[in-house]
Amino acid sequence: MSEAEKTKDDKPIKKKGNLKFILTIIFTISGFAAAITANLLIPQVSEKVKMEVYQFGPIDATMNNAYTWVLDTLIVLYTVIGVFSYFKKERRKKYRSRAPFRFAVGIALALWDFLGTKIQVLPQPFFPGPAGIIEAFLIEGDYIIQNTLYSLRLFSVGFLLGIIVGVGTGILIGWFPKVYYWVSPVLSITGVIPAVAWMPFALTLFPTPFSAAAFLIVICTWFPVASLTASGIKSTPKAKFEAARTLGGKTPYLVFHVAIPHAMPQIFTGIETANAFSFTTLVMAEMMGQPGGLGYYINAAKVWSAYYKVFAAIVVMAVLFSLITWLVGLIKSRVLRWQRGLLK
């Protein structure tokens, strides 16, 4: 299978294609180059924008400088990816298919910069330009990082604990009919309640706001993980258990080497669902009563009408949550590698 792919992949790439691909790379980065040019050449029309100068050691920088640095970084990044993709047909295809979108992002940034910063026609302070959002990092980058780490810590504790508790109860519910009888109605009733509804209760019950919020994330993770684990265990075909018993497997083997591996795809479906739930719970819990975190930061910035900071926090969330989702997906495809080629 992989042999065939390899030979197909290693086919010499035509010369004409080489030039075309180099043009694709240039096309990709030209969008961002246009955004830089726009920022440098278009004069600042609106006088409402104040250009503060921030110091980074020996370097002085305005928000416009920082904005162009970000664009520079993107150009370098996509050039490197382009060069890396140059040598593999498969990667070339992927890069080529993404080129128009990346170009469009650059053009959109240029347009946004023009409307949001240069002539500032967008309603202020609600819609800052891209440079304005970057300014939030120049002003209090440390503070944003601090709040990001708080969120990350809260999320990790709640999510991991929720998975452990969820898989544990799911196994018990799926394996013992008695537990199923008594616990599954409780699970299906409490499971539909949004976890943040427990917030007042959690705040009085737990000693610290952190543990209260962690508790909420545990709850919202627990429900989908437990119910899908239980259904995965319950749906294990009888033939698998019988085969294991004739091979000399006793109950622990049936649970840990037959039922749980069989339930694993569903367990991961539960974890992925819980992942999305817990982002919501995390941010809402932080907005309702935490001494830190990105949700707290958004609330605090809103009070001062510092919407550019709100946007900065949203950008951080987008990156952070994407990374976490990607990581969960990576672990999933590793654990479920036996399914590769079976699905799709």
Partner: protein, 259 residues
């Protein structure tokens, strides 16, 4: 060689099917000698698989008992290897880990790990050790299932139509493999099948069962020396005789329902 290994005594097994009682097995008496290859054939619903499941310990009878070396069978044991019809491999394990499953289940993997590659060679799946069940053919999967049962060195190998879903070429291939294994380890084998040729090609004795209620109608000795030829005159003569017998057995007047 002629010691009795398995005794089936007065087995009765009924199922409750809604309001009717179905007699799956009625008064089954039979014994099997060590090293024997016995096939159980009959149309579907004659209770042949139920009987095999009772021998495995996967099912319980209402009355009667099955003795292995004089000891009553109550639950499954690796001493009685079982090869299922299809789809009993663990999809989440590679070929080699499927074969090693029995060793792991019995916590004797470490000292016996060398056996895994031996059995992979035996079934001719070298190079497929790391493949997952969905990546191999049905015939290969059944060979893995056989190796998985054999790695526990069972005294009896119970085969529940293991070749039922395979094409005839693959089937013949696995039949030869079974004979080869038998020659090597002298294991007792009990095969449930609905293929007369298969039973004739492999067995020392053929047990013919009839349905409603499931019972043994006849036991036929097969006295063709090995290696047998599927197209040989002796084979074809026996086959014709068997077909006639089977036809007679099927044409017996059905017992009237008096319940």
């Amino acid at each position: 060689m002629s010691d009795t290994i398995l005794e089936i005594k007065n087995i009765n097994r009924t199922y409750r099917d809604e309001d009717n009682m179905v007699e799956a097995l009625k008064d089954i008496n039979f014994s099997i000698k060590e090293g024997e290859f016995v096939s159980i054939i009959g149309s579907s619903g004659c209770g042949k698989t139920t009987l095999l499941r009772l021998i495995a310990g996967l099912d319980k009878s209402q009355s009667g008992e099955i003795l292995l070396h004089g000891k009553k069978i109550t639950e499954p044991d690796p001493q009685r290897g079982y090869v299922f019809q299809q789809g009993s491999l663990f999809e989440w394990l590679t070929v080699e880990n499927n074969i090693a499953a029995g060793l792991r289940a019995r916590h004797i993997y470490k000292e016996n790990r060398h056996k895994v590659s031996e059995y992979i060679s035996l079934i001719g799946l070298n190079g497929f050790e790391k493949a997952y069940p969905h990546q191999i053919s049905g015939g290969m999967a059944q060979r893995v299932a056989i190796a998985r049962a054999l790695i526990n060195d069972p005294e009896i190998l119970l085969l529940d139509e293991p070749m039922g879903a395979l094409d005839s070429f693959t089937r013949a291939d696995i039949q030869d493999k079974l004979l080869e294994i038998r020659k090597m380890n002298h294991a007792t084998m009990i095969l449930v099948t609905h293929d007369i040729d298969e039973a004739l090609y492999l067995s020392d004795r053929i047990v013919i069962m009839t349905p409603r209620p499931g019972k043994i109608s006849e036991v036929v000795d097969v006295n063709i020396p090995h290696p047998r030829h599927r197209g040989g005159t002796e084979f074809l003569a026996e086959r014709r005789k068997l077909l006639e017998r089977f036809h007679l057995a099927a044409a017996q007047p059905q017992p009237e329902y008096n319940i």
